[in-house]
């Protein structure tokens, strides 16, 4: 099942050229960029592993692409996303986030029902490989 979260996730996967262009756009806005990865794309899994610190004061997208390439080399079968942080409100806020790498076989999300007291139903999503 194709996981859709963040920008562009209903589009076909971005090429490296398109990723570079998006990063250029972010840098042009003065946003810092962080690379994050995970193997669990559950919607409640908000905090992914950070691939190094977010990168501040970059002038060119190449710096981000280098980190992304390193991350892809280390985790080819993980989800990788780029987060852009906007600091104009005095704190670093994620203002744009998009997936740049997916595993070949994506896990699916399965809904499970549990019956609890008073026959009420509890619903939960579970990632299934």
């Amino acid at each position: 099942m194709r996981i859709t979260q963040g920008c562009f996730s209903f589009l076909p996967d971005l090429t490296d050229e398109q990723i570079t262009a998006q990063v250029e756009y972010c840098l042009g806005k003065g946003w810092a960029i962080g690379v994050e990865y995970t193997d669990d794309p559950h919607p409640r899994n908000t905090y992914w592993e950070m691939w190094g610190n977010p990168m501040f004061d970059l002038k060119d997208a190449k710096g981000v692409i280098m980190e992304l390439e390193d991350c892809r080399k280390a985790h080819p079968q993980h989800y990788i996303r780029l987060n852009a942080f906007d600091s104009s409100r005095g704190l670093e806020t994620v203002t744009m986030s998009f997936i740049v790498n997916r595993p070949d076989a994506e896990p699916s999300l399965q809904m499970t029902r549990t019956e609890s007291r008073g026959r009420s139903q509890h619903y939960a999503w579970e990632t299934q490989r």
Binding site: L58, K59, D60, K62, M66
Partner: protein, 311 residues
């Protein structure tokens, strides 16, 4: 069968390039003029920059016409004594390379050993990489680059930074230009012990010391930029100061002049404060007199008879 293909190939490419037109359009002329106007002296440096600009322009024309071309290696080394304008020229160089389209952004990241080399094991690589990421698309200017290499300590982390630098200089030639700067003799020794650097650096530019006349005109420019000027006698005292200062240790060309002028302004302010009765006018406020300069310790110092012993 190959014929039509070849024809269509040549059709899409221009068959001639007007170099003068390219030169004008690229905005290189403005930078070179600015260089001539704003930097005093440095004849050989300007000449080298002109030559480099011409080479890059021709390379670009060759690329446009589809002639075989190897992307030129642009890493440089600037050697010369302190205060001879290496950083200033590096800034201009970044602008020049940007206008010629050899680097994408044209900013200058100026670093020293402390910015690249870490304090403990595993600290150097991320630190160096962070700087390199910031420098991508621009020029990385490493001042006093020879401090990266410490031959007396083989476990020095500088070696790690050097290896990362060399790798990036080779693999990311399109992404950034590295300029190494420092004293000529120590740079020479640095290259001897790191042949990898020498073979990756195509342009060696040597910055000569300024002569006394050039330093005086630098002083006058610095003052006028700050809205000050010498009075008639002060200029003569200043040129005397330059001659004497040069014989003192730690003479740093234009930087020494700038410091001397800063102190002269301090003395001028003090003099005005202590001596003026009644209102002072703009002329008084912006004039450096002979007394402001002649109070310098340089004039009170005994001339060393054996400079090689005293230094």
């Amino acid at each position: 069968m190959a014929m039509p293909e070849a024809l269509s190939n040549t059709e899409s490419l221009p068959t001639s390039v007007d170099l003068a037109e390219e030169y004008k359009a690229s905005g290189v002329a403005e930078i070179l003029d600015e260089l001539d106007r704003e930097l005093v002296g440095l004849k050989p440096v300007k000449q080298r920059i002109r030559e480099t600009a011409a080479l890059l322009l021709v390379e670009r024309a060759r690329r446009a016409m589809g002639l075989s071309h190897e992307p030129p290696s642009l890493h440089m080394s600037f050697t010369g004594n302190p205060g001879t304008g290496k950083t200033t020229v590096a800034l201009r160089m970044a602008d020049l390379l940007h206008r010629l389209g050899y680097i994408r952004k044209g900013h200058l990241v100026s670093v020293t050993r402390d910015d690249l080399v870490g304090q403990y094991i595993g600290h150097t690589a991320p630190k160096t990489k962070e700087i390199l990421k910031k420098a991508m698309g621009g020029v990385l200017f490493i001042d006093e680059a020879y401090y990266l290499y410490r031959p007396d300590n083989e476990r020095d982390y500088g070696q790690e930074a050097i290896e990362i630098l060399l790798q990036v200089m080779e693999n990311n030639r399109d992404d950034l230009v590295v300029i190494l700067a420092g004293y000529a003799d120590r740079m020479e020794r640095f290259f001897e012990s790191n042949p990898g650097f020498r073979s990756r650096i195509a342009h060696h530019i040597d910055f000569p010391d300024y002569d006394d006349q050039e330093l005086l005109s630098i002083a006058e420019r610095m003052l006028s930029r700050q809205g000050y000027h010498f009075d008639s006698k002060a200029a003569a005292v200043m040129s005397e100061y330059i001659v004497r200062r040069r014989r003192q240790p730690h003479f740093a060309n234009a930087r020494s002049i700038r410091n001397a002028l800063d102190r002269a302004r301090l003395r001028q302010a003090n003099r005005l404060f202590e001596e003026s009765v009644g209102p002072v006018d703009a002329e008084q406020l912006s004039t450096i007199t002979a007394r402001d300069i002649s109070a310098s310790r340089v004039f009170r110092m005994v001339e060393p008879n054996h400079p090689e012993i005293s230094s």
